[in-house]
Symmetry: C2
Subunit: 208 residues, 2 copies
Amino acid sequence: MQTNQPKSIREKSLKTILFAAQEEFVLQGYKGATVQSIADKAKLPKANVLYYFKNKENIYHAVLEHTLDMWDKGIGDIIPEDGPKLAIEKFIRAKVTMSFKHPQASKIYAMEIIQGAQHLKDFTRTYLRQWVRDKAKVFQHWIDNGEMKDVDPVNLIFLIWSSTQHYADFDNQILTIMNRADYEQDDINHVTRFLTDFILTGCELNND
Amino acid sequence: MQTNQPKSIREKSLKTILFAAQEEFVLQGYKGATVQSIADKAKLPKANVLYYFKNKENIYHAVLEHTLDMWDKGIGDIIPEDGPKLAIEKFIRAKVTMSFKHPQASKIYAMEIIQGAQHLKDFTRTYLRQWVRDKAKVFQHWIDNGEMKDVDPVNLIFLIWSSTQHYADFDNQILTIMNRADYEQDDINHVTRFLTDFILTGCELNND
DNA sequence: TTAAAATCTGACCCAATGGTAAGTTTATTT
DNA sequence: AAATAAACTTACCATTGGGTCAGATTTTAA
């Protein structure tokens, strides 16, 4: 990131292409996505897209990176000072909000992992593994302190991840089942409430 | 299915191709999968594969259908007679087992839904929607009867789905995080125990 | 105003891939 | 054993799609 005010042509183009690419990759998968249709979506000639990104692989990398960045920023931290109840509440709310607001990002990530995480092996082995270990330690600390039920922290993290991201990745299925066209703000609230309530109860942290 | 004993050449070929195709589709996605590499995996010449299945789309359909069949058979039912505790226990155990034993199936399905469920719109709109409504009714019945906590049944179903299938769809990520090469039987048991315990607690059904 | 740099574009190339055609070999039936 | 059907195979075609290139146009710098 350089200047930020008038936004150069370069930056604008990059952003447009990235956005178009994200859509295309989600809908068609990596191989299925064509540079031509990314260009069409971005309303640029194909050669122009290839001028900004050397090749298709590069576009995909950029999309992945952008996705990870956004996800990282959007999801707050789990810190000991919050205590288990508040920390879990905050975490679930953040994840649900992200899922409803940026389903594309979640989907790109999910597909990448499902297909073997070819482009994310490194990220998973280093960053993510450490993240999980750190957070598991925080949970374990609360458990040892008698502040929450003795549940396996790692699997708890998996449960929170999966149950929240489900609303992004499987939005089509969920909407079809509920016979609805789109999510609304109420849905975010409802799901957030359901999940926090349920999971806190699972941790024996609910005092309603 | 016809005869079953000596198994005709046709049946054997179909099965081989289907199995190879499943692998290929998971790894490469629909577009990324090539008939040639399906053929290679099945150790048959490409034209022979196209002899059994008119075209790539047909192979994919067959894989999807096979997947749904298997899933349907593998997951028991949720019936009122079992009562909430046993029913949920059985359901989770079945889903976790399926996830660990047939991750490919789960992945194919997940990718299809994530990408917009083009080939499963019908299945979702009719069969799945009805299934969810039926099972939600069973849960609601138990709730009204005071047999379990008043949680939203539909979202409970989503939570069980997502948290169980996560171990199939994201197996790469999970194994990498845990620094392991493969799942073992112990993992199935451990996860089953964790999820049943946690979810039953969430429904206030745990009497340990 | 001019030079240089950045942006844009149409035309083209070529490898990969889905699918076909036409025929050969193997299995089954009569 | 002959005839028919099923299974297999080789060679080929047409299209798609990633990527290049040479030059045009616009923007920025001197």
